[in-house]
Symmetry: C2
Subunit: 230 residues, 2 copies
């Protein structure tokens, strides 16, 4: 039930009470394990997904199967939405952690948009923010060298991670997964992480990366004037 949902950041909360109930009765909320596809590139568009809990990567591949992560999403984010009006998703989505994700079909969503202006406006603002973030990312990936890109990637992962409880952030993604976020390969990521560890900008515990000073990492990217308000 949406009305009892723990996730305050869910966009559906911008609907009227009776619409929240209506959506609640139509949606379903499967439980996804880690590394599970939510939808595939090329599959049919049936509706939109709202992340209740967990971290998700949005991916796009070339014909050789090489995969690029184009966006990360966490609780409160919407997925699949970018495909409205098209027949098929041009991108795919995969869970990075164990997740709960609500699915709402196109028809219900369309009616909700027409009758809940506040909801529609907030969804619009969500896209607007994501577009701005995507554009800043375009700039960074175009102008940065490998070391800077890795730092950018780590900060991005940290910001879209859910466990920001303590003063240290742990990253459980593989070197390969990080490489796909910033557009390089696992060897380069490994090299840069080794250097950053020597410079005491991060620690590693086995394969886990531990960020203990986000501000110091951000400072290394300050030349790019990144607006950091995700």
């Amino acid at each position: 039930m949406c009305l009892e949902c723990c996730n305050q950041s869910c966009l559906i909360n911008n609907c009227t009470l009776d619409w929240i109930e209506k959506i609640s009765s139509k949606k379903n909320t499967p439980h996804y394990p880690k590394n599970q596809f939510i939808f595939f590139e090329g599959s049919l568009v049936m509706g939109a997904y709202f992340i209740k809990r967990g971290q998700v990567k949005i991916i796009s591949s070339n014909i050789n199967g090489k995969e690029q992560t184009v966006r990360l999403a966490k609780e409160g984010h919407m997925l699949g939405h970018t495909a409205f009006g098209l027949e098929k998703y041009s991108i795919g989505a995969v869970t990075l952690s164990e997740s709960e994700i609500c699915f709402v079909d196109n028809r219900t969503l369309q009616e909700a948009f027409l009758e809940n202006p506040k909801f529609t406006i907030e969804v619009m603002r969500f896209y607007s923010r994501e577009l701005r973030k995507s554009e800043i990312r375009t700039k960074c990936l175009a102008m940065m060298n490998n070391e800077e890109k890795v730092i950018l990637g780590l900060l991005y992962i940290a910001e879209t991670s859910n466990d920001q409880n303590s003063n240290q952030t742990k990253i459980y993604l593989s070197r390969q997964e990080i490489a796909q976020i910033i557009g390089t390969n696992s060897e380069q990521v490994s090299r840069v992480i080794s250097n950053l560890r020597k410079d005491k900008l991060l620690d590693t515990e086995d394969r886990t990366i531990v960020l203990h000073d986000l501000e110091a990492l951000k400072a290394t990217l300050s030349h790019y004037c990144i607006a950091i308000e995700y």
Copy 2:
């Protein structure tokens, strides 16, 4: 007057008739020459811009003044929008051709959104499409080599160009401007264009680039499964 506007693709047309008139009475439509700033990075957000005619680049710079073009826009597109809720624009916009661009202040826009669901939905869809395009671009710029990026850039410029009347598209941007769109430098662009001319994939007339076979150019990028429906 919006009601008499020649631009059928303008998003404002999704409002009710009286709202179109209301917006019409509040907006202004300055005439911009080529290479004119519409708004600067860091300036205050007063409203949104609707392109009536012309081509515009959205740019973002680093602290050294190096400039990256993160998006191209043409008639029917919205600008400045991505800054709602923020105090300042994190990006800037510059005309690439002589243009007419309508400005609507934040307050009027906000009221229009609340009372014109169809308008809001279409603006949302516009963002949604732009986000998808930006993400595909992220993938391409991450995976392509320089030659492919230049071809991608030329196709992007052609698609956001207004004079698609004949079977050949002319591009008047400098090598430097093209380089900033794809994240390289003018020398590389020059080299690639020389090679493409030898391969008969394009022609040049003085500094102008002439594309006479868009399909052949697109075919060279087919490995990337680009959804080409801008």
